[in-house]
C-alpha cells in the first residue's frame, strides 16, 4: 500500500477518536496538601473505582531493605487506627467493594472497585490507612510468610522470573533497578518495624500520590469527599531524589542460570532511556513491530517459519529512570540456546540494517489505536491508563494524544533507535537451561 493512503486512513481514525472521548472530560484538582485528584465521570454502570498511585517502588530501596516497597503494599491492608487488622478488607467487601494492589520498580498502586453508592466508605478506608497506619508486629511476622510464599511461587512457576532477576542484576551495577521488586529473601526475613515506619513516613505522604477516580460519580461529590477525607492529611517533605545514574555499559554481559527445563530460555536486555525521553514512542513502536501478533518480526521468523522458538515476546516497561528493553524466547525442540540467541540477534540486525516497512509501521499505529479504544471500554482501563500517563509521561492528557504521538514516528526513527540502542556493548544476555554446555561444544 502507498504511504499517502495510509496516512489519510490514520488521520481519519484520529478524528474519529475525538468524537469518542476527550481530554476535557477528565477533571483534575489539587488538594492543599499537594495530593492530585483526577475524575472521569462515566455512568454506564453503577460502579466506580479509585486508583491511588504512590511514587515509591523498588528504585527507592537499598540493600538491606530490598523488597520493602512491595512488602509495604501488603502492610497497607493490615490495620490502621479506625480500621484495625483485617477490617480494611472486611469493611470494603461488606460494602460490595473489592481491591488489589501492585508494586513495580517505580510505583505502588492501590486499586479499589466498588458500587458507586459506597464511595464514601472507600474514602474513609483509604484516608484512615494513609493518615494512621498502625504497624502491628504480629501482622508483620505473618505477612513475611505470605511474601516469602509469593516470592517462592513466582520462582516455582515462572522461568522468566528466574532468568530476569539474574539479567537485571547483571545489566545494572549501580542503579537500584538491579534487584527484583519482590526483593532478596534475606531482606524479606530481616527488615524491622522501624524500617517500615520510616518508609511510611517518607513516602506515604499525600504530596507523593496521584488519585484517579472513574465511573458513576460526580466531580462535585468527589471534591467534597476528597476535601473532607484526604485534605486534612498533612504533607511531608519531598522524598530524597534517586540520583544514581547507571554508568554506560562498556561490553556485553552474559549470565547463566541452571534449572530443569525441557528447552533453553534466552533473555536479551538492552539499556534504553526513561519513558519521558524523546525516543520512547519509537522504541515502543519497535517493541510492537518485533513481537505484537503473529505477523510480527520475531514471532513470524522464530516461531512460525523456522521453529527456533515455541514462543517469544519483547517488553519495555514504563520507567522513571533509564531501564531495559527485554527480548525473551523459549527454544523449540532440539534448538540450543546459542542457536536461539543467534537467531534473535539476526532479527535485530535485520532491523538495524534494513529498517521496517511503511506497512509494518502503519500496522502498529493501527494496533495502538485499537488498544486505546479497548482502554476506553472500561472504567478500569480509564483510571489505570490516566494514572500511568500522569506519572510516566508527566500529564494524563497525553493519553488522549498518544495516537498523534505514534503518528509522528517514521520508519527512519525506528531504524535510528534500533541502531542506537541494540548494540552488542549495550546488551546483557541471559540463558536458562539444564546445565552449561561443555567447553568447545558447538551449536547446532
Amino acid at each position: 500500500m502507498k504511504k499517502i493512503l495510509l496516512t489519510v486512513l490514520t488521520m481519519h481514525m484520529a478524528s474519529m477518536l475525538f468524537s469518542q472521548s476527550k481530554a476535557e472530560d477528565v477533571k483534575s484538582f489539587m488538594l492543599k496538601n499537594g495530593m492530585k485528584v483526577m475524575v472521569l465521570e462515566d455512568h454506564s454502570i453503577p460502579n466506580a473505582n479509585m486508583y491511588l498511585f504512590w511514587k515509591v517502588g523498588s528504585r527507592n530501596e537499598y540493600p538491606g531493605i530490598t523488597g520493602l516497597s512491595h512488602f509495604f503494599e501488603h502492610m497497607m491492608f493490615n490495620g490502621s487506627k479506625k480500621y484495625g487488622p483485617k477490617m480494611f478488607d472486611r469493611t470494603m467487601e461488606a460494602a460490595g467493594g473489592s481491591n488489589n494492589a501492585y508494586t513495580t520498580e517505580n510505583v505502588t498502586v492501590y486499586t479499589d472497585w466498588f458500587p458507586s453508592s459506597s464511595l464514601e466508605t472507600i474514602f474513609d478506608l483509604e484516608a484512615d490507612r494513609i493518615a494512621n497506619l498502625a504497624l502491628d508486629s504480629t501482622m508483620v511476622e505473618s505477612e513475611r510468610g505470605v511474601v516469602l510464599s509469593e516470592r517462592s511461587t513466582g520462582l516455582e512457576n515462572s522461568n522468566f522470573r528466574n532468568i530476569s532477576e539474574e539479567v537485571k542484576a547483571s545489566a545494572f551495577s549501580a542503579h537500584p533497578y538491579r534487584w527484583s521488586v519482590i526483593g532478596y529473601e534475606s531482606d524479606i526475613k530481616n527488615w524491622s518495624i522501624d524500617d517500615l515506619q520510616r518508609y511510611f513516613d517518607t513516602y506515604y505522604a499525600p504530596n507523593n500520590a496521584v488519585v484517579v477516580i472513574s465511573g458513576d460519580v460526580t466531580l462535585a461529590g468527589v471534591k467534597k469527599l476528597a476535601s473532607q477525607y484526604f485534605e486534612p492529611i498533612p504533607a511531608q517533605p519531598a522524598p530524597r531524589k534517586i540520583h544514581t545514574v547507571e554508568p554506560e555499559q562498556r561490553g556485553e554481559k552474559r549470565v547463566m542460570v541452571q534449572k530443569q527445563v525441557s528447552t533453553p530460555n534466552v533473555l536479551i536486555a538492552y539499556h534504553v532511556p526513561e519513558t519521558q525521553h524523546e525516543d520512547h514512542y519509537a522504541l515502543d513502536v519497535l517493541n510492537s513491530v518485533l513481537s505484537s501478533g503473529k505477523s510480527s518480526k520475531l514471532y513470524s521468523y522464530l516461531v512460525d517459519e523456522n521453529q527456533y522458538a515455541t514462543s517469544v515476546f519483547s517488553y519495555m516497561p514504563e520507567s522513571f529512570d533509564p531501564n531495559l528493553f527485554y527480548i525473551y524466547g523459549i527454544a523449540g525442540q532440539d534448538v540450543d540456546a546459542v542457536k536461539l540467541e543467534n537467531e534473535i540477534l539476526n532479527v535485530i540486525d535485520g532491523v538495524i540494517e534494513n529498517g521496517i516497512t511503511e506497512k509494518e509501521l502503519q500496522k502498529v499505529k493501527n494496533q495502538k489505536l485499537m488498544e486505546f479504544y479497548k482502554t476506553l471500554e472500561t472504567i478500569d482501563g480509564k483510571s489505570d491508563t490516566l494514572g500511568t500517563y500522569e506519572l510516566y509521561f508527566g500529564d494524563y492528557k497525553k493519553m488522549y494524544f498518544a495516537p498523534e504521538a505514534y503518528e509522528k514516528v517514521t520508519t527512519e526513527d525506528i531504524k535510528r533507535v534500533a541502531k542506537k540502542y541494540f548494540t552488542k556493548n549495550n546488551r546483557t544476555v541471559g540463558v536458562l537451561q539444564n546445565s552449561e554446555p561443555a567447553l568447545g561444544e558447538e551449536s547446532k
Binding site: E156, S295, Q367
Partner: protein, 463 residues
C-alpha cells in the same frame, strides 16, 4: 501483587452499610436480538456504541469431549488450525490482513466447545467478516502448517509442566473423571499429538462443525438491521453434514478418598487441589452456590484465604471454586505452600472447609457476601467481549438472560436457612480427591494420610 485470586461472581447493588433504602435499579442485560438462520445457526446481535469496536464470538460443539484417546488433542488442533488457511486466504494473509487493521482473530477448543473469536474496528467490518466467514466455512488445513503447529504443541507439553500451576487442573480432571470424556486433556499428550495427521482434522471438522449446533454472538458498534443482512449473507451459506450431539455417559462416582501425587523432583513447594463433585452451569441454585463459595474461598476475606494466608502466613493465596460444565463439574480448594508446610496447610484447609458443614453461615457474613457479589457484578459485563461470551455461554449451557436480570433478586432471596440447604446439597462432605504436585521424597509419606495414593512422575507423558 496483593493477591491474584480471581474475581468470581458479582452483582449490582446500591446500598449497604447504611440502613437507608436507596431506590435501586437492577442490573439488566442490554437488549439483544436472537435469530436462527435456515441452516440452524443461532445468531445473537447486541448493539453497543461506546467505542467504535465490534466483537465476534462463535462457538461450535467441537470440544475435547469429542476426542478419542489415541488422538487426544485433535479437537484443539482442529480449532487452532481453522486460521491456518482457507479457500480464499493463506495463513499469512489471514494474519497480516487482520493485524494490519489492529484487529485480531483467534480460535481454540475447550472441554465442551470450540470457538472462533475476533475483535475489530467498526470501519473494518467487511474485510474482517469476510475472512471470518472463509476460515469457518472453508478451512483448508494445509499440511505443512498443521505439522508445524503440532510439533510446536508437542514441545509445549513439556514446557507447561515446568509450571505446576498450569497443569494442575489437567491432572485433576483426568484423576476424577477418568475415562469419561471430561477427563480428556484439551492439549492431548505428546504420544497422541504425534498420531494426528491433516486428514484427521478434515474429518473432525466435517463431523463436528455443525451450524445447527453452533452460535455466533456479535456485540458492538453496528446497526442490527444491516448486520442481520450481512450475517445471513455470510453464514447462511454454511452447509454441513455433521452428525450432531454426542451423548455423554454419566459422570463417574467416587466412594473413597484418593490422592494423586505427581512427583516433581525439583519442586520447592507443593501445589494442590482438594476437591469433589461440582455442579452444571445451568443448575438452578447456581447463584446461591456462588454466594456461599464467596464466603468459603471466593474473595480476599474468605475463610480459606483468611486462615491459610492472613492468620498463618502459610501461602500467598488460598481459594475455592466451582468449574461448571454441561453435565456437572468440579469443586476444588486450591493453594500452594513450601514443601515443609505441606501437611500443616492441607490439614488447615480441611479443618477450615469443615466449618462450612459444622458451623454454617451467620446472618452477618451472608449479608456481607451478598453485598459483595452484587457490588462486583456489573463490571463483569462491561466489555463487548464479556457480553459476547455471556451470550454464547447461554447458548452452550442452556440458560437465559434471567440469570442476569434476576441476579439481584436471587442473591437477595438467599437466607441462612436456604444457605444451609445448599451447603448440605452441593458442598462435598467426604471422599475428597487430592492432587498434589510436589517433591515425592518429602511429601510422599504424609500423602498417605489422606487416602489411597497413586503416584506419577511429572516427566511422564500425559496426565
Amino acid at each position: 501483587m496483593k493477591n491474584t485470586i480471581n474475581k468470581l461472581f458479582v452483582f449490582f447493588v446500591a446500598l449497604l452499610l447504611t440502613n437507608s433504602i436507596v431506590a435501586q435499579e437492577d442490573f439488566k442485560l442490554p437488549e439483544y436480538t436472537k435469530i436462527q438462520l435456515k441452516n440452524g445457526l443461532t445468531i445473537y446481535l447486541m448493539e453497543r456504541h461506546e467505542v467504535p469496536l465490534i466483537q465476534f464470538t462463535a462457538v461450535f460443539p467441537a470440544g475435547a469431549v469429542n476426542d478419542v484417546k489415541e488422538k487426544s488433542g485433535l479437537a484443539a488442533v482442529t480449532a487452532d488450525a481453522l486460521v491456518l488457511g482457507s479457500k480464499n486466504y493463506t495463513k499469512s494473509q489471514i494474519e497480516e490482513n487482520t493485524e494490519f487493521l489492529g484487529a485480531s482473530i483467534s480460535s481454540g477448543a475447550g472441554k465442551e466447545s470450540a470457538y472462533l473469536v475476533s475483535s475489530f474496528m467498526k470501519k473494518d467490518q467487511k474485510v474482517v467478516m469476510d475472512i471470518l466467514k472463509d476460515v469457518l466455512l472453508n478451512p483448508t488445513f494445509p499440511t505443512d502448517e498443521v505439522e508445524k503447529m503440532v510439533s510446536r504443541k508437542i514441545a509445549e507439553m513439556d514446557q507447561m509442566k515446568e509450571s505446576p500451576r498450569s497443569v494442575l487442573s489437567n491432572y485433576y480432571n483426568k484423576f476424577v473423571f477418568g475415562e469419561h470424556p471430561y477427563g480428556n486433556p484439551e492439549e492431548g499428550t505428546k504420544a497422541s499429538l504425534q498420531q494426528i495427521q491433516n486428514k484427521d482434522l478434515i474429518n473432525f471438522y466435517k463431523e463436528q462443525y455443525n451450524p445447527s449446533k453452533s452460535a455466533i454472538a456479535i456485540v458492538g458498534d453496528f446497526n442490527t438491521k444491516s448486520m442481520k443482512v450481512e450475517v445471513e449473507k455470510l453464514f447462511g451459506a454454511w452447509k454441513s453434514s455433521a452428525k450432531t450431539g454426542n451423548i455423554l455417559p454419566d459422570l463417574p462416582v467416587t466412594d473413597k478418598a484418593r490422592v494423586l501425587l505427581v512427583n516433581k523432583e525439583d519442586a520447592r513447594e507443593t501445589t494442590f487441589y482438594i476437591g469433589g463433585p461440582g455442579i452444571s452451569r445451568n443448575n438452578p441454585d447456581f447463584v446461591g452456590i456462588r454466594v456461599i463459595n464467596t464466603i468459603l474461598g471466593g474473595r480476599f476475606t474468605s475463610w480459606l484465604n483468611d486462615e491459610l494466608r492472613v492468620n498463618s502466613g502459610l501461602t500467598y493465596g488460598a481459594r475455592s471454586s466451582f468449574t461448571p460444565y454441561k453435565l456437572g463439574g468440579t469443586f476444588v480448594i486450591s493453594t500452594f505452600t513450601a514443601n515443609e508446610n505441606t501437611e500443616k496447610t492441607i490439614d488447615l484447609a480441611l479443618e477450615t472447609y469443615k466449618k462450612l458443614h459444622t458451623k454454617g453461615l451467620d446472618e452477618e457474613i451472608l449479608t456481607s457476601a451478598k453485598n459483595y457479589v452484587k457490588g462486583q457484578f456489573p463490571p463483569d459485563y462491561e466489555t463487548n467481549s464479556a457480553l459476547s461470551i455471556l451470550l454464547t455461554d447461554m447458548y452452550i449451557y442452556d440458560f437465559d438472560e434471567s440469570y442476569i436480570n434476576t441476579f439481584t433478586k436471587q442473591v437477595d432471596a438467599l437466607n441462612t436457612q436456604k444457605a444451609a440447604e445448599l451447603i448440605q446439597k452441593y458442598f462435598p462432605k467426604d471422599n475428597f480427591q487430592f492432587v498434589l504436585i510436589g517433591k515425592a521424597s518429602e511429601i510422599g509419606e504424609l500423602a498417605k494420610k489422606y487416602g489411597e495414593v497413586e503416584q506419577l512422575e511429572i516427566t511422564n507423558d500425559g496426565f
